[in-house]
């Protein structure tokens, strides 16, 4: 079947088949996920030589390692002999990677070190011919990305307009480096792009998360009144976008004289034992997280106080990880507060995520009907304008971020 991918996306809409067509999903895994920068880890997950974690680039399993020279490597998790995965643990510490099938062993940089009974291969066997496939790996702000494509632009150029927002996001370390404190993983029976769209979709928040808004105090409810707080959505180029829901919380080092919210007063009192009043204000502001969601095409979002990582599984199945972040070496009380905030909204038992998962599931079910209909992405288009950076901007409830992502989708699927 020939699919003309370019016909499936228009500036203000996308075809329903993008959620339901197996052939499109297979093409996406190749044309998108094998040819762009895919987020695989944060540096704090592999702090020491010998540390590793496993991840995926599209559907392909990889191992992220730190070798003895503290270099980070992203290696295809597939023995060069007969393909077995070298490692199924999610994370850990090793000296080398040894295949469980016939014992081929690899160093942490992927080079083949040992082959049992090597003479069975004859005298011209060259270990240098069979290293683990090593992906191109680059970092920005502690985020590790990898790609199979040696020819694409640098990570720096790829992130482009998103870098400013990443720098702002990392300020929630409150003066400490950001560290990963754990993650909530859940899945929903739907296409990965349904989740991708959601990160810069403030329009859904007061509807889907009404029960969450009922559970918070009045001060926070007002803060979360994101459709009436002067926010905006900005197309950052390369498929990335940012939704600024709480403009007061864009730069966490600003407004340090603002009063401490009631819900953080107990924390502030505890921090005051070991910190100056100015430090307390900075830490408390950092604990609450940033006032925006940054969406980076195709698989990572920096969403207020956590990373949201999407992992396509099948055309109608997606895994989501909400990675909790803390202050590395920061006050335990501040990190406890961040974990409690994360547990409250996120994950399979949070007060927010299950409702997101439910409506995404409903999108996938509804998309089984009327496959010739369009997904409408035109909200906020009429008043969209260019800002001084040359970025398209519209109001906070606009679908500007989705239009940006689907334009990138079309560029990659139908170059």
């Amino acid at each position: 079947m020939t699919t003309h991918f370019a016909d499936l996306v228009r500036p203000d809409r996308a075809s329903t088949r993008l959620y339901t067509d197996d052939a499109i999903f297979a093409a996406e895994m190749e044309k998108i996920f094998s040819h762009t920068w895919v987020w695989v880890a944060h540096v704090s997950e592999i702090p020491n030589p010998g540390d590793f974690k496993t991840a995926k680039v599209g559907l392909q399993p990889v191992i992220v390692t730190r070798d003895r020279a503290v270099q980070i490597h992203v290696l295809l998790n597939r023995c060069r002999h007969r393909a077995a995965t070298l490692c199924e643990a999610r994370a850990g510490h090793v000296n080398s990677l040894i295949c469980p099938y016939h014992g081929w062993s690899y160093a942490l940089d992927g080079s083949l070190r040992g082959v049992p009974y090597e003479k069975g291969y004859g005298t011209d066997f060259d270990r240098g011919e069979f290293p683990l496939i090593s992906l191109r790996t680059e970092q920005y702000a502690g985020l590790i990305f990898a790609t199979f494509d040696e020819t694409i632009m640098s990570l720096d150029e790829h992130l482009g307009g998103a870098k400013k927002w990443l720098d702002l996001f990392m300020k929630q370390g409150g003066g400490y480096p950001i560290k990963v404190m754990g993650e909530h993983k859940f899945r929903f029976p739907g296409n990965w792009k349904i989740q991708l769209e959601n990160t810069t979709d403030a329009y859904h928040f007061p509807i889907v998360h009404k029960s969450f808004l009922t559970a918070v105090d009045a001060e926070m409810e007002q803060q979360m009144d994101m459709l009436n707080s002067g926010g905006w959505v900005e197309d950052l180029g390369n498929g990335h976008s940012v939704a600024v829901m709480m403009p007061d919380l864009v730069d966490l080092d600003d407004n340090l004289d603002a009063p401490i919210p009631v819900r953080f007063q107990t924390l502030a009192d505890e921090l005051a034992k070991d910190h100056t009043p100015q430090e307390v204000r900075r830490l408390v502001r950092a604990v609450g997280g940033a006032g925006f969601n940054l969406n980076m095409f195709p698989n990572l979002a920096c969403s207020m106080a956590f990373f949201r990582v999407l992992q396509p599984v099948a055309v109608d199945e997606t895994e989501i990880r909400h990675v909790a972040l803390g202050m590395d070496g920061g006050p335990p009380a501040a990190n406890r507060a961040r974990m409690r905030i994360h547990e409250f909204f996120q994950g399979p038992m949070g007060f927010g995520s299950p409702d997101d998962a439910e409506v995404w599931d409903r999108v996938q079910r509804g998309a089984q009907g009327g496959r010739d209909l369009w997904l409408m992405l035109h909200r906020g288009l009429a008043h969209e304008a260019e800002n001084p950076d040359g970025h398209r901007v519209s109001d906070v409830s606009a679908e500007t971020g989705m239009r940006a992502a689907y334009r990138k989708w079309r560029d990659m699927m139908a170059p």
Partner: protein, 158 residues
């Protein structure tokens, strides 16, 4: 056959299980001590729950909010609330003191919602305090055997 000395404890746990499956949440909330914690950990080895990321770490206020959310009709994932049936067996008294007991059991829960059935197996450990009004739950820890795997949305109370 339950050992006779365990029977009062087991009866209490079965009552709790029945209240949760039956949606009798006010009675369930009343079973707790004032400082009691409802915990669903992620890390199978976690014991310092306060300093660890969990799925749920509820004090009385959060338990009450969880119940309010289930009843509110505002949560699309809890409208309707999943139906659940849970069974508990393999009870073992881990430790006890003058007026407290730590008891672990196996729990198997079947969830049904929108024509989907899902299953969760867990080790459930209760710390129960004996009071004049009967047992009260001081801590309940639900260790799902697949806690580090990817879960589906869970809009009810384990």
């Amino acid at each position: 056959m339950i050992q006779s000395d365990l029977f009062p404890l087991v009866s209490f746990l079965w009552l709790e299980a029945d209240l949760l499956d039956g949606g009798e949440y006010d009675d369930w909330l009343a079973l707790w001590t004032a400082d009691g914690k409802y915990v669903v950990p992620i890390d199978p080895k976690a014991t310092d729950f306060e300093n660890t990321l969990n799925y749920a770490y509820d004090d009385h206020e959060l338990r009450s909010k969880r119940v309010a959310r289930l009843r509110s009709g505002q949560s699309v994932s809890a409208s309707p609330i999943a139906r659940t049936v849970r069974s508990q067996s393999r009870f073992r008294l881990l430790s006890s003191g003058e007026n407290w007991f730590e008891i672990r059991c196996a729990q198997f829960l079947v969830e049904s919602r929108r024509e989907r059935e899902r299953y969760y197996a867990a080790d459930v450990t209760h710390r129960l305090i004996s009071t004049d009004a009967g047992f009260r739950i001081d801590q309940k820890v639900i260790r799902l055997i697949n806690s580090t795997d990817t879960l589906d949305g869970i809009g009810y109370i384990f």
